[in-house]
């Protein structure tokens, strides 16, 4: 990031679970926002930028001004919009604002609780040419996976290995929603019921409740704070189409993330092979295989064989989601994106549950809609 150097200095993730009985969204969000500020060694009076959910009650729903009152100070920087308040997209907005000198310290995050539903996750709005066909999130991802398997011979077993690897990390992570489940074998995944071919139930991420937040400030300021700063050393977005208005065609989205990876890694003066730990979007097992290829860890079509080498496990060459990812740690709506950043920061600070030894360089990516949008950043533990 050009201009002022930017650092991640505080993070917080609440308890996560499929349901959090007795908790409300607003309460969880405030726990996460104030928790991240405290983790940074700051107080709300030190924070002049907010990109955070405000579900209510109190204030005005999703109105950033609600946070000005909560913090007891005027704010110099706010952003509205669901994706601007979460994860890497939110981080890039905030980092750009800090780098440009528009504000100095930004908290980003949010969460959800109290509306667990067993229904499948929809595209979030009505789609005239999708809903009538029974298209929703998982079948959209399935259509991309199916084409990749057809073209490259990627197998259901390779998908299942991804699911088992990441779910087993969750099963042994006491903080994960699916802690204690498993261990799962490839056969267990293949024998779980089909949701939308080639995706079985265990190939698909969970849905649940929880909250998370993170604090960005200048590297100059970060040096005076108690924690180990994590430098935001590169980032980028790759957006190719709108939500679920039309199906994602593999030929159009297969390399989604490549353009942002080139930009982000160049800014970080790093190669993808140098990355110690990956926090990736894993709505499905397949989407991890696709990203291994798009990020340049292997050639197109070679993601399945790469997974078979054990590459994505905690002890592997390219560890992916050692916390258990969306498949087993948590998918809490949009703020699952923030959870992925929190895990990367913990890895770089040496405080993760499944710690990658001496992790210095992390790549975090969020995405969505099949996937048609991709946001990524490269984080480095400051020397």
């Amino acid at each position: 990031v050009h201009g002022r150097e930017v650092a991640l200095v505080g993070t917080f993730a609440s308890t996560v679970g499929l349901k959090l009985p007795g908790r409300s969204s607003q309460e969880l969000v405030q726990e996460a926002v104030f928790g991240a500020i405290a983790d940074a060694g700051l107080t709300p009076a030190d924070v002049d930028g907010v990109q955070a959910d405000w579900p209510g009650p109190g204030g005005a729903v999703e109105d950033a001004g609600s946070w000005a009152r909560a913090f007891g100070r005027p704010l110099n920087w706010v952003m509205d919009g669901m994706l601007a308040r979460a994860g890497v997209r939110g981080l890039l907005h905030g980092a750009a604002a800090i780098a440009a000198g528009l504000c100095d310290t930004v908290v980003i995050g949010g969460g959800q609780a109290g509306f667990f539903a067993a229904a499948p996750v929809s595209g979030g709005q009505a789609f005239e040419f999708g809903d009538v066909w029974g298209a929703y999130v998982m079948p959209h991802f399935a259509l991309v996976a199916q084409r990749h398997m057809h073209e490259f011979g990627t197998t259901p077993e390779q998908l299942a290995l991804v699911a088992a690897t990441i779910r087993n990390a969750a099963g042994t992570n006491p903080e994960a929603a699916m802690f204690g489940r498993g261990p799962y074998t490839i056969d267990d995944v293949l024998q779980s019921r089909l949701v939308a071919s080639p995706l079985h139930l265990l190939d698909c991420c969970i849905r649940g409740e929880g909250a998370a937040a993170m604090v960005l400030t200048t590297m100059e300021r970060a040096r005076d704070l108690p924690g180990v700063p994590v430098q935001v050393c590169g980032g980028g977005m790759d957006v190719v189409a709108a939500g679920y208005a039309a199906p994602a065609l593999y030929r159009e989205v297969g390399d989604l993330g490549r353009r942002s990876a080139v930009r982000a890694l160049a800014a970080a003066d790093a190669t993808v092979q140098e990355v110690d730990v990956f926090s990736l979007y894993d709505p499905t097992s397949f989407e991890v295989i696709r990203q291994l290829e798009a990020l340049g860890l292997c050639a197109e079509g070679e993601g399945g064989p790469l997974v078979e080498t054990g590459a994505i496990g905690v002890g592997g060459a390219h560890p992916v989601n050692p916390d258990g990812g969306c498949l087993g740690h948590s998918w809490i709506g949009t703020q699952q994106m923030t959870i992925r950043v929190v895990e990367a920061v913990r890895q770089l600070r040496g405080s993760a549950v499944h710690q990658i030894p001496d992790a210095e360089l992390a790549l975090v990516a969020n995405a969505g809609s099949g996937a048609k949008h991709y946001e990524m950043c490269v984080l480095r533990r400051a020397a």
Partner: protein, 145 residues
């Protein structure tokens, strides 16, 4: 109840045509597949947009497509998002021979081992219309080879 109507119609989430999309549905009622076509770019696209994607200065017009294409991808959906759809269904992306792609259902697939849809990719398909309400007739596809 009109016996010509699909009995699932009362609960299946039906499209609500807009000013932009009504010509598509009006043609579908006549069992014609109208697709946006930009003559200046020789470009067919779907779904419709106010301006031609990528070429905002080049107008498009509705043009009838042949209804023939190939199956680009297909997933056998076993969990419906809500009531009104009988599972499993073959949610499919059809590449029309003109170049546009459509989300649809592949229907009337003969019994046989198609790997939950996986072995149907790249097969030739053609459109077949299903009336589901007085306003809405859906372009489904069947195998054509």
């Amino acid at each position: 109840m009109n016996p010509a109507l699909d009995t699932l119609a009362p609960t299946r989430p039906l499209p609500v045509p807009s000013e932009l999309t009504e010509p598509f549905w009006a043609a579908a009622r006549e069992e014609r597949l109208l697709i946006p076509f930009c003559p200046a770019r020789d470009l067919w696209f779907f779904p419709p947009e106010l301006r031609t994607p990528g070429f905002p200065d080049d107008p498009w017009e509705w043009r009838e497509a042949s209804g023939r294409g190939t199956l680009y991808s297909c997933t056998e959906v076993h969990r419906a998002p809500g009531p009104g759809l009988v599972t499993p269904y073959l949610l499919s992306i059809v590449l029309l021979e003109e170049g546009a792609s459509l989300l649809t259902h592949l229907v009337d697939v003969p019994d046989g081992d198609h790997g939950n849809g996986a072995r149907l990719l790249d097969r030739a398909v053609r459109v077949r219309f299903r009336r589901v309400s007085p306003e809405i007739t859906l372009p489904e596809f069947v195998l054509a080879d």
